[in-house]
């Protein structure tokens, strides 16, 4: 094999992994960009946040007006305490 090919082999193998590496890099920087945009958006309540909040509010409203009460808000019996056996 010509020596220049041998010298280039490490770079060739690197180049074959480049598309995956570039995709990872693009994902990383788009994540960084999103975080920066969130900062600059400041107090903006986005479309997605509005939708999620309204969906939650509507679901809770429907349940409350139907009379559905979360089980955690119901008063249940006290736990039974087993007395310690006599010594």
């Amino acid at each position: 094999m010509p020596p220049f090919i041998v010298a280039l082999l490490p770079y060739i193998s690197l180049a074959s992994r480049a598309p995956a590496a570039l995709a990872d890099l693009a994902r990383f920087w788009s994540g960084v960009r999103d975080e920066i945009m969130k900062w600059f958006a400041g107090g903006l309540i986005t479309l997605e946040h509005q939708r999620a909040l309204m969906d939650w509010a509507k679901a809770d409203q429907a349940a409350a007006l139907r009379g559905d009460v979360p089980v955690a808000l119901t008063v249940e019996a006290d736990p039974v305490t087993t007395p310690a056996p006599p010594v």
């Binding site: 309540i45 509010a57 409350a64 006290d78």
Partner: protein, 155 residues
């Protein structure tokens, strides 16, 4: 040289702090086109109900905090009962109150959605203040448990 570096670092950090405060710490506002600020076919905002959006967000936070404490007590009932029976008994006295506040909140919200008025929004905010006052009260009921477990309730 050292002085120069310190001054440069101070200048850069103050520029960063100012730029962040000017951009990140803004008054909440709605993105047009959302459910609280719908737009018509030409993109004009029909109405902007930031009051309801903020009320819903505040209610969700306070209600879920209270519900979280109640769920925690229910899921760990036996262990908390062994620490102090008063934990369950105190929360049991608060449970019907939360149910009542939740019902009144949702009734008022339904009325407001049908007919948005400043008075309706004030009613929502009044009811919301009731559950916000309960948040530290329910959290305080877990203080005996935290003490038992060696967790400082007032870090």
């Amino acid at each position: 040289m050292n002085k120069k570096r310190i001054l440069t670092a101070l200048l850069l950090s103050s520029v960063l702090a100012v730029s962040l405060s000017l951009t990140a710490c803004k008054t909440p506002r709605l993105e047009p086109g959302g459910v609280y600020a719908p737009t018509n076919s030409v993109g004009q905002v029909i109405y902007n109900d930031i009051g309801l959006a903020l009320a819903d967000a505040s209610w969700k936070l306070a209600y879920e905090t209270v519900l979280g404490v109640m769920e925690f007590e229910r899921e760990n009932r036996q262990a908390l009962w062994d620490i102090s029976p008063d934990i369950k008994r105190s929360l049991d006295s608060i449970r019907p109150i939360v149910v009542d506040i939740r019902l009144r909140w949702n009734q008022a919200r339904q009325i407001y959605e049908a007919n948005p008025t400043p008075a309706g929004l004030t009613t929502l905010q009044t009811i919301m203040s009731e559950i916000e006052r309960l948040v530290p009260v329910v959290q305080a009921q877990l203080t005996p448990a935290k003490a038992q477990l060696g967790i400082n309730p007032n870090p």
